[in-house]
């Protein structure tokens, strides 16, 4: 399984480059249309995925 761990690095490419996933206003969060909070949310998610790959390759 560990061999495939680096594939996690590709997940944020799919999530952010396939624009139809998030090119909508609904649902709003704290006044932010979905388009904006989805991208902001992906910052920590992408970091976390990279961290998981990093930990997995060290152990």
């Amino acid at each position: 399984m560990r061999r495939f761990l680096p594939l996690l690095l590709l997940v944020s490419y799919v999530a952010l480059l396939w624009v139809p996933f998030y090119n909508t206003r609904e649902p709003y969060l704290w006044g932010f249309p979905f388009f904006y909070w989805y991208m902001l949310l992906w910052v920590p998610i992408a970091s976390l995925l990279t961290y998981v790959v990093h930990r997995g390759s060290r152990a």
Binding site: P6, L9, L10, S12, Y13, L16, L17, W18, V19, P20, N23, T24, R25, Y28, W30, G31, F32, P33, F35, Y36, M39, L40, W42, V43, P44, A46, S47, L49, T50, Y51, V53, H54, R58
Partner: protein
Amino acid sequence: MNDIHWTAWSVFGFFFALVTVLGFVASRWKAADLSHLHEWGLGGRRFGTLITWFLLGGDLYTAYTVIAVPALVFGVGAYGFFAMPYTIITYPFVFAVMPRLWNVCRRNHYLTTADFVEGRYGSHWLALAVAVTGVLATMPYIALQLVGMQVVFEAMGFGGMREGSEIALVVAFVVLALYTYSSGLRAPAMIAFVKDIMIYIFVLAAVIIIPAQLGGFGAIFDAADKAFAAKPAVPPTGLILQPAQVTAFASLALGSAFALFLYPHAATGTLAASSANVIRRNAILLPTYSVALGLIALLGYMAIAAHVPAKGNAVVPALIMQSFPEWFAGFCFAAIALGALVPAAIMSIGAANLVTRNIWRPYVNARMSPAQQSSVAKITSLIVKVGALVFVVFLPLEFAINLQLLGGIWILQTFPAVVFGLFTRWFRPLPLLAGWAAGMALGTTLSWLQGVKPVYALPGIGLVYIGLIALLANILVAIAGTVLAAAMKRAPTPDATQPGDFADALTDPR
């Protein structure tokens, strides 16, 4: 613009003086012999995780970003946010690629990406192409940092003094040039601590105070939505992307993400790290700046909601002046101006390293001593900055913006030689050079024919970033040429690297 904001200028002056002192003191930081190029130009490769985080953050998220991204968002809305996916997806790429570059460069004492290309392919012509592309792409980028400074100077005012902002720019740049000359990469590394902390304070204050004044984020987005609805349908604007903008948005994000770390300033900041793991940890930690960038982009909507009496690059300074007390406006302006100095210093050092190692050494004087290399680089860093200054003072702004846009397309054409070279030696240097030339020619032509635009309408797909189209042509030419060379049984060129050079050394700290 007839009044002078003395309070703002005073606060600004204080911080400028502070970093000037830091810039000169930096020459004694992690003390070493600065007459060696790897000390002057790479800080002796001794920057740990924290310093690298500040250095790269200060390097990549520039003053021009703080000015131009909100200005674009102010003008067109959602499309201006392509910088968000761009600066998120660049880091998985950095994680996978840049530690290999760092390892092979450390093992073989390479100081630039072009050094690596020369060693890997045994071709100083391919290295020259990479180096010249890097220098060409960097010059207008430095010029745009000056533009970033100029707009904050103008917001603080000169009391009607003619050429006031030009004089202020010259003063700031002479000071910058002097401490870069004496301290090398240590100067921007030290100043980046001050700059980044100030930028974070500015951003936090902006996203708390300004929405409170304007009735919350909901009201800000509503105001922007109404403003876009009142605009004509062409060019497309809006709070979310119009269908025609989708492919342009995604391809700009992807192409820019691949291009970013090929720029000399990004490569220099990365190679200055003290280990491959420092780079991996930074690929995890640097996205913090992307959150800041997303919030900075929102300043464009805040400016719409606040009805600032400005447009284009003057939007952010006008919003700051209108929303904050004058002393804090001075603080924010200082943060933006320092946001110009840090990248400008690193860009000029990156360009100087390339000129010294990959243009001067192979073509002018092959027997340079380390001290001679260091002095050529120092002088080049001065020339590069003067060139950028001349650019901004004497040529129309349009020129620098257009060249910077082309620079992004150009730097992406070094991708096959540098990045593929880190994983395989299958490609041959001459086909790579031909691919580079094809990509440069195609990219420049497609952009030029439309009056210097970043995107081109591909039939059946839609608008696509020209840098990516040119890169595809580049790769196809390199593959075809390599297949042809192998079929003709041409002898491969020498490879100075060893297969083990790309992996972490067992003795490195994990």
